[in-house]
């Protein structure tokens, strides 16, 4: 009984050690969509969905390995970084797709999304650059 009472306190104590970066989904402001479902994001970043509703081609932008990249993939795409990389390389080497644009840092990604019609990406913190921050519908 004592052990059972101890467990919640133990996890409560550990919680501050597991602080994950927040992930924000951003798109080019010309995209006439303000919210996405988790499933939409998964479909977009796996190339299953390639067009915005009535507003052209989706161009995805990703980050090189980083905490926010890992967190984004785990939360939305349901893949590890190596699975995500191999998934896209399969498409490249069978002719079924082209690799997503990949950026070394968030500033470059934000710049690309802000200036590229149809672009969508993810960042860890709000920005004052002209991009649309998508609302996420958890369903």
């Amino acid at each position: 009984m004592r052990k059972i009472l101890f467990l919640p306190w133990f996890f409560l104590f550990l919680t501050p050690l597991f602080i994950f970066p927040e992930v924000l989904i951003i798109s080019n402001p010309d995209t006439h969509i303000s919210s996405l479902k988790n499933k939409d994001i998964q479909d977009i970043f796996t190339g299953k969905r390639t067009r915005w509703n009535g507003s052209g081609q989706i161009i995805i932008a990703t980050l090189y390995d980083s905490e926010v990249h890992k967190e984004f993939l785990e939360q939305f795409v349901k893949k590890t970084p190596s699975q995500f990389k191999n998934y896209w390389r399969q498409k490249v080497f069978t002719g079924e797709g082209m690799l997503p644009k990949t950026f070394q840092n968030e500033e470059s990604l934000i710049e690309f999304v802000a200036s590229t019609r149809g672009a969508v990406g993810y960042i860890s913190a709000p920005t004052d650059r002209p991009v649309r921050i998508m609302l996420i519908n958890e369903k």
Partner: protein, 416 residues
Amino acid sequence: MKKSGKLFFVLFIGFAFSAVLQAEEKFPIDIHGYISQGFMYSNHNNYLADTKNGTFQFNELGVNFSTQVTDKLRLGMQFAALDLGDLGNDTIFLDWAYADYRWQDWFGIRLGKIKIPMGFYNKTRDIDMLRTFVLLPQSIYSETFRDTLIAMKGIGVYGEAPLHAFGNISYEAMYGTMNIDRDSSTTKGVEGVGFFKVEKYQVKRAFCWAVTWETPLQGLRLHTSGINIDFKLAAILTKDLIVTIPYPPYQIIIARTGTPLIAESPDFSKSIYALEYTWKDFVLAAEYSRQDFTQTTRITGASPFQRVLKFEGFYVSASYRFSDRFETGVYYSVFYKDRDDRDGTRTPYPPPFSAYQKDACISFRLDLNDHWTFKLEGHLVDGTGLCFIQDNLDDAGAPAFTRKWHLLAAKMTFSF
């Protein structure tokens, strides 16, 4: 033209093509490639190459060019070469080249030479860094028909459709034909019967399809695919065909060496049922396959005779990625030449253990960085159902196999 000359010519054409398009600045070209070098050693039985002595004749390379012409139209091509024992010999071939028009996400059309979607891994079987193992489970991805079942020329349709609460479904279907090369692994497998030499093939038609369902259970996908080919081959006899009458003992030569023959297989078919479950870094996969065909052989001066083949295979595999760099996997793969005679008691090609091949494999993969991958794996094998007879003849020219044997495979790959 020498082999190296051809390679440089092809690469020159590819790079020149991309440079011209790049110069236009309208169509940025993506260029990617891979090159891998492997080593195999077996303690008994030569497998796919001269493995009993250890062999480096085990390599692949490929380079591809692709461009997005419009929102909906993409063009691309890949040149490749491989060497596997006496197969391939690093001759450059066009691996795939097609125009892909994606009208909607649920419907697109492809025209050209297209990879065949058999099972989860057929399309990428030549590309080492995309999987955990050096050798894919041979019960499903046998090397015998590798170069026949890798790609076809024709038209294909494909699409992805959301099923909302029921997940996603994707489909592909293709119709066309294919080139089967005289020097292919298919020829080596077919000539294993030992009495004829193939001169050429004619494929009348080929049709294939695949459906993959990503179920609502995150990470679980189910797949089925199939192919049907109508083909025939022209060959010449390499031995006299003799009929023996037991009593009184009497032999009749019904066709002499050099006599032409035609072997028709109007209904070659292969189907696969597959399951894959991914949970974080753990991947579990299983596939089951059947391959059937009836071959009718016609020889001038003799009555036609038929040969019915009923291959069966399955495997179960598991892999786990321990870190960004290190991954390991195991599989158990079983192949039967005749699913009505799994233990080989009725096989016309003794020994009985040549009717099956059961392979337990453990593999280790190390990604040195984003471009370099090294793999090492070991196989414990029972049976020789997938060993080429021609690679395992004794001094008298008779098949010489050992039932239980080990195989070691290693491979280093660079990709960009």
